[in-house]
């Protein structure tokens, strides 16, 4: 049993826990109806059961593949390149005000 980099929780057996769909939907900023929460919950649980097969694999000897084709140090020279013209940038904004994008209130404090 190994511990996660991020928390001290031990790794759960994959699909034994029920997914908190409401919490995940909140993280993903997608509003779901109660019906969808139920339906997706079942479908995701189903998928996770299939995915559970991965628990059987012995992955102890391998590193995670970050990339398929090994490549390192892809960098660009610090040179300024032309940017987009502002009208192009703003003309498809769902809501704009002058030269800005406008969004509804960001409630960060009560």
């Amino acid at each position: 049993m190994t511990t996660s980099l991020r928390t001290n929780r031990s790794i759960p057996t994959l699909s034994s826990e029920k997914i908190d769909v409401r919490y995940v939907a909140k993280l993903a900023r997608i509003a779901l109806t109660d019906d969808e929460i139920e339906r997706f919950g079942a479908q995701l649980g189903d998928l996770l059961e299939h995915v559970d097969s991965l628990a059987k694999l012995d992955v102890s000897a391998v590193a995670a593949t970050a990339q398929v084709v090994e490549s390192r140090n892809v960098e660009r020279e610090d040179v300024v390149r032309p940017c987009l013209d502002r009208e192009t940038v703003l003309e498809q904004a769902p809501q704009r005000q002058g030269g800005f994008f406008r969004v509804p209130r960001i409630i960060a404090e009560s």
């Binding site: 998928l47 991965l54 995670a64 593949t65 960001i106």
Partner: protein
Amino acid sequence: MSNPLTERSAAAIARDVNARTLSAADVADAVLTHIDDVDPQVGSYLTVLHDRAREVAAQVDARVAAGERLPLAGVPLAVKDNMCLTGTRTTAGSKILERWVAPYTSTAVERLLAAGCVPVGKSNMDEFAMGSSCENSALGVTRNPYDVTRVPGGSSGGSASAVAAYEAAIGMGSDTGGSIREPAAFCNLVGFKPTYGRVSRYGLIAFASSLDQIGPLTRTVEDAALAYDAMAGHDDMDSTSIDRPLEATAGHLRTDLRGVKIGLVKEFATGKLDAEIHALYEQAYRDLEALGAELVEVELPTADYGVATYYLIAPAECSSNLARFDGVRYGLRVDGADVHDMYERTRAAGFGPEVKRRILIGTYALSSGYYDAYYVRAQKARTLIAQDFERAWKACDFIACPAASSPAFQFNAKSDPYSMYLMDYYTIPMSLAGLPALSVPCGWVKPPGGDRPMPMGLQLCAPLFKERELLGAAHAYEQKTKHALTHRPLIADTAAPSGSV
């Protein structure tokens, strides 16, 4: 009967336009007229580029007249709607981008245009490339030109149906887990996914960054080679683009398989498939032998974990890639009481159920406490799969197997998400390992309950960077068997009486 111009290969069109015995303008006219006739039934295109096509065709003719020799002069091109083309609506098959017009062009498209292609339309696709039937498009329905009650495959379904129905000679597709190869198999086409990193992803609306690759769908292997040669190569706008010299593939395609070892994967044995399908593949393998190849058995023991691995990695990456669709800077916005409410309503309205499912599963797989168990574990399984292939390459030069386990199915046949995911069973392992792979037509079967013969595809896969060898093997097989020519697409022949030549 459609204009025979529309049925010509890209190679033939380019040759004649360069020789100036044919004008790009005439080709464009013929194809656009044909599109107007048949697309109402096939539904390949979300946007037809009537004006743009004619404009570009005129430019191509001018360039050729000025002495330029363009490898794809005048070739009508279907561009999958997840690839940006300046000034065109680029929707990724989604409501969230239904009205978005791209202000820049993806590198791969730009290169094909530089090579002389004429873009005739933006083709339909499963929303954000998530799907294997094109049924997940939120903006249109695409039908298989060989049987309109059946799906064209996905996610590059529109590009596949366009090329199959002669509405283009080259279709640009993108393949993450099989989205070029499977629709190619379903529509009697060659569908080619190059080595990961060979074709720039700049301007391709991302689904799963470490898996997405752009590639061509064509009616012949030679056309696929020409298209690949034009679109491939390093791009400094894409950090994952490979900086390695390119070998031309077109003009270097072999016609036999002498000295070649072809691996048949134990885990992909076709005995468990439908009897007619099994017989089809057995015949295909014999045909490879008849061309001089030696068949050897290889193992990919981790291949069975491919679908599970893929359906953790791809959703994880896409859950992050699709976060940008938030109603702030472009695309759909549904207002809310505050910005977070706006995000939730916008994304609820803008994304279809499959997209939502994958975002949810991906978010979950990356979330605190689950990251190691899911995402990291899947990436390790991926390493094992890649290692399996490396071992296989010691015994063979190519791997041959089915592209899909069945021909094109009927609409709504796969209502359970996981059964749809299984359509990618044979194509996913190659994607996970980043290997070049393609599907080439290998025969016809009568699907149960169907009365029309439907095409099937033989998948060939090669080691990293062996595009030339792979296309060569496919070419040899194609030239010997010519399965693609056995039946014509139904749809091409049911053009409306007026307006067709």
